[in-house]
Symmetry: C2
Subunit: 150 residues, 2 copies
């Protein structure tokens, strides 16, 4: 993980389709060297994948919310079962498992408020282990693409 590797990670976080040649030229190294570096970064688990990002509104899911959830009892079995349940819900796009008062923070993307209401009332509150739910609508969600080393 030298300066070259960091630069490559940064460039690929910014644009996952930037060509190998282009990056090699930007860094002043040979394309074959650049390719080998990136292969090593993948192999070693620094780069975990490449993904396209889709506009949520464009695919009919323009409303986002975060739902704080408390489950009882907060045992491993209950937590893991509830997490598996969340993962299978198509409305869920991200799950935080937390310390503190709430056990989960569930990030959902839905069609509209009716859809959101249905998710909370018809899916979440159907679960007997669910002890408490607080839903907040998301006005805006910013996600940083480039994340540098500490």
């Amino acid at each position: 993980m030298d300066e070259l590797d960091s630069a490559l990670v940064r460039m690929l976080q910014e644009d996952g389709r930037r060509t190998n040649r282009d990056m090699a030229q930007a860094l002043g190294i040979a394309p074959s060297t650049c390719l080998e570096r990136i292969r090593a970064l993948r192999q070693s688990g620094v780069l975990t994948g490449f993904h396209a990002e889709a506009d949520l509104a464009a695919i009919g899911r323009g409303l986002q919310a975060v739902i704080a959830v408390r489950v009882r009892p907060p045992t491993r079995a209950v937590i893991e079962a509830f997490q598996a349940f969340l993962e299978r819900m198509p409305e869920v796009i991200s799950i935080f498992v937390l310390t503190g008062n709430d056990d989960f923070l569930v990030h959902v993307a839905v069609r509209d408020t009716d859809h959101l209401h249905a998710v909370v009332l018809d899916k979440l509150t159907k679960r007997p282990e669910l002890a408490d739910v607080r839903t907040s609508v998301v006005y805006n969600h910013l996600r940083k693409k480039v994340i540098g080393p500490a």
Copy 2:
């Protein structure tokens, strides 16, 4: 946005480096057609970008937390200034602007607990508009890669 477009978005969300030829073959269309479809999806804003994903632990930021923040007064000027401040913090990887009791949910990735403590005490609580902070450590964060239409 027909069935072909949805399939392409799904495939590229899963693997942003999947080749055009490969996807064309999987869908039974010509590579040139496939390319044109993807160009149109980008042009129309459905596909917003391609990004590499890096392992946070591998880049020395293995500890995540979500910080619920309330600012006073919750005016546009204050909210926007605080958001701009958050965006400039390198520890912040994602920001939710919310309805409800808290105004922001700040997702941070830091080196260790000392680093987290420093972020909260030395950066956030330095801001005079900050009225309330609650920090929760993240045990686990799952992010769905493939997000289908509603």
